[in-house]
């Protein structure tokens, strides 16, 4: 019975090929765009998740305020309000796992005839842990390097490529601000950060060396940034409150006085970036779904026309013993076949389009089995939903009225 009906549905679709093809095209475009948009959206989410995973987790950055605003306290200088002592004090707080004072800026690097400008980060070994940096070759510097301000450097992949090319940088010298530094390690690759900057275009040196040899601060011991890592996501609120209270106390800020530093929750920023891409991908999917809906309405439209055109046929079928449910099944099956066939083609085109985008503009594309299944399920659902009303109308026809039609 089902086989006979499938054959008939196939036959009916073949009877008006152009019309069937055009109706199917609606589904093809709908499903294709849903698959494509979901691939792009999920790709973007995946890319952001990748970036976040390279950033280090549960991070805060404390940023020095400019003391010239509250200049009274520092006696009219303009030095950074944070210092290494603050960092050491914060490290004692509960729930804090790493604290790294940071002094950074862009500098020109020289190795032999090669020039390259990169972000130079002066900091302590804790920074490597907090930012989840790995060492690809060589070894990191230690606290003793910070204490004695040795001229050693860890360089990122981009920096290594540009200064050294195919050469192995470990053990070689580079010059920063005329001072020679020995490269003792190459950092593992991270890629872009959330702002789109290349995280591998960097050099990490001991904080003290950076201050003395590179940036030459007139305020020894003060720093622009302190990176703080909490031991867990749950510990973050307590750590944030504790840091602020501690720093206010250390900087002798009275009630009502503004903080002379800023607290930036990097993890929250990452979360909001992830949320943004999530919203974007939902939005893309929603827009694509509209075309799927339009495709479904196209099916309904054509099925209604088909029922009207074939009223007499329906009458004949009823006269020779077709039950209402037979007629219903026949038209439902036709709608379903159009939508499922359209869905299959749309799926292939969507995937092909996604792969094309991937190769042409190197965008991250994720085609998940789930999204394919969803598209398929939705298409079948649309076939049934939009096919049901016309099929119901066909089945509800009175045999004699249908036979008299025309």
């Amino acid at each position: 019975m089902l086989k006979a009906m499938l054959g008939e549905a196939w036959y009916a679709m073949g009877a008006n090929r152009l019309r069937t093809a055009l109706t199917m095209l609606g589904m093809v475009i709908g499903v294709g765009s849903v698959v494509l948009m979901m691939a792009i959206g999920q790709g973007a989410q995946y890319a952001v998740a990748q970036t976040i995973s390279t950033m280090g987790s549960n991070l805060y950055i404390l940023i020095s305020g400019s003391t010239s605003a509250g200049g009274l306290r520092s006696g009219g200088g303009g030095g950074p309000s944070l210092n290494v002592g603050d960092a050491e004090a914060i490290a004692e707080l509960d729930g804090v796992s790493q604290v790294a004072p940071v002094h950074q800026g862009r500098q020109q690097l020289v190795h032999g005839p090669n020039n390259w400008s990169a972000t130079v980060v002066g900091t302590t070994p804790a920074y490597l842990d907090a930012r989840a940096w790995t060492i690809a070759s060589g070894h990191p510097f230690g606290d003793s390097d910070v204490r004695s301000a040795t001229r050693v450097a860890l360089i990122g992949q981009t920096t290594a490529d540009n200064l050294f090319g195919a050469e192995d940088p470990v053990g070689k010298a580079i010059r920063i601000q005329q001072s020679p530094f020995v490269v003792i390690g190459v950092l593992g690759q991270k890629g872009q950060n959330l702002d789109g900057r290349d995280q591998d275009d960097t050099v990490i040196v001991p904080l003290t060396t950076a201050q003395r040899k590179i940036f030459g601060t007139p305020f020894p011991g003060s720093v622009r940034l302190i990176m703080v890592q909490a031991s867990s996501a749950e510990a973050m609120p307590a750590v944030e409150a504790g840091m602020i209270a501690l720093l206010r106390q250390r900087h002798r800020l009275r009630d009502g006085q503004d903080n002379d530093f800023y607290v930036r929750n990097l993890t929250a920023a990452a979360d909001s970036a992830a949320e943004t891409t999530r919203v974007m991908s939902v939005l893309l999917g929603a827009i694509a779904s509209v075309s799927l809906l339009v495709g479904g309405i196209g099916i309904m439209n054509i099925m209604l026309v088909s029922v009207t055109e074939r009223t007499r046929e329906i009458g004949i079928r009823m006269a020779i013993g077709a039950r209402q449910k037979d007629i219903l099944a026949q038209f439902l099956l036709e709608a379903l076949m159009i939508s499922v066939a359209g869905c299959l083609i749309g799926l292939l085109l969507g995937i092909a389009g996604a792969l094309l985008i991937n190769t042409m503009i190197d965008m991250v594309i994720v085609i998940s089995g789930a999204s394919v299944l969803v598209a398929f399920g939705v298409a079948a659902g649309i076939g049934i939903f939009f096919g049901y009303y016309p099929a119901r109308r066909a089945a509800a026809l009175d045999p004699i009225d249908a036979l008299r039609h025309q």
Binding site: M5, Y11, I316, A319, I320, G321, Q324, I400
Partner: protein, 236 residues
Amino acid sequence: MSQPLIRVVGLGKSYRTAAGPFPALRGVDLGVDAGEFVAIMGQSGSGKSTFMNLLGCLDTPSSGDYFLAGRNVAHLGDDELAALRNRTLGFVFQGFNLLPRMNLEDNVGLPLVYAGVEREQRRRRARQELQRVGLHAYADSLPSRISGGQQQRVAIARALVNSPQLILADEPTGNLDSHTSEEIMALFAQLNRDGITILLVTHEADIAAHAKRQVRFLDGLIVSDITTPAGALARC
């Protein structure tokens, strides 16, 4: 004789028209036994087709009762009516009503699809019925490729395929020339000899002469019901 195959009592049908209800049948009583061959006659508009459509379970009466093979049709649901149309009776139309996109074999086998018969069995029985009406050579042709008389034979084969007790034919020769009509009537006569009850509507006396019994309609009522001597003999 046991219960009649068809029994109608006070059957009435009015159509809704712009000018109010129009009574096309106004209380018809008739009994038809199994094995009869009845011609229904009467002038145009007298209610013959209306009556046949009711007998064929294609339409529902406004009043009265219709018993088919002992069952009161008024009490049956849609599916049961469909089953009656599928198994108990076969309807033959003036305009053949074959499905134009299907070949003859599939057309003839279509009632079996709704009876849930398997494909091989359907093919076998469809070819058998085509053979019976002498058209097995055309099994793979489309209806448009054969003549009107041949199409009507195919329609009869379709009506026969599920072995009904009763064939209802509304002016089956109305679209055919007199020679072809004779052939079709000969086919009906043969089917009747094979034991199938036949009711057919016709305008022409020579066509009606094939039947053993002639029922005449006028203005929605039966005005005469004559059994020919041969028919009377057959009814005993």
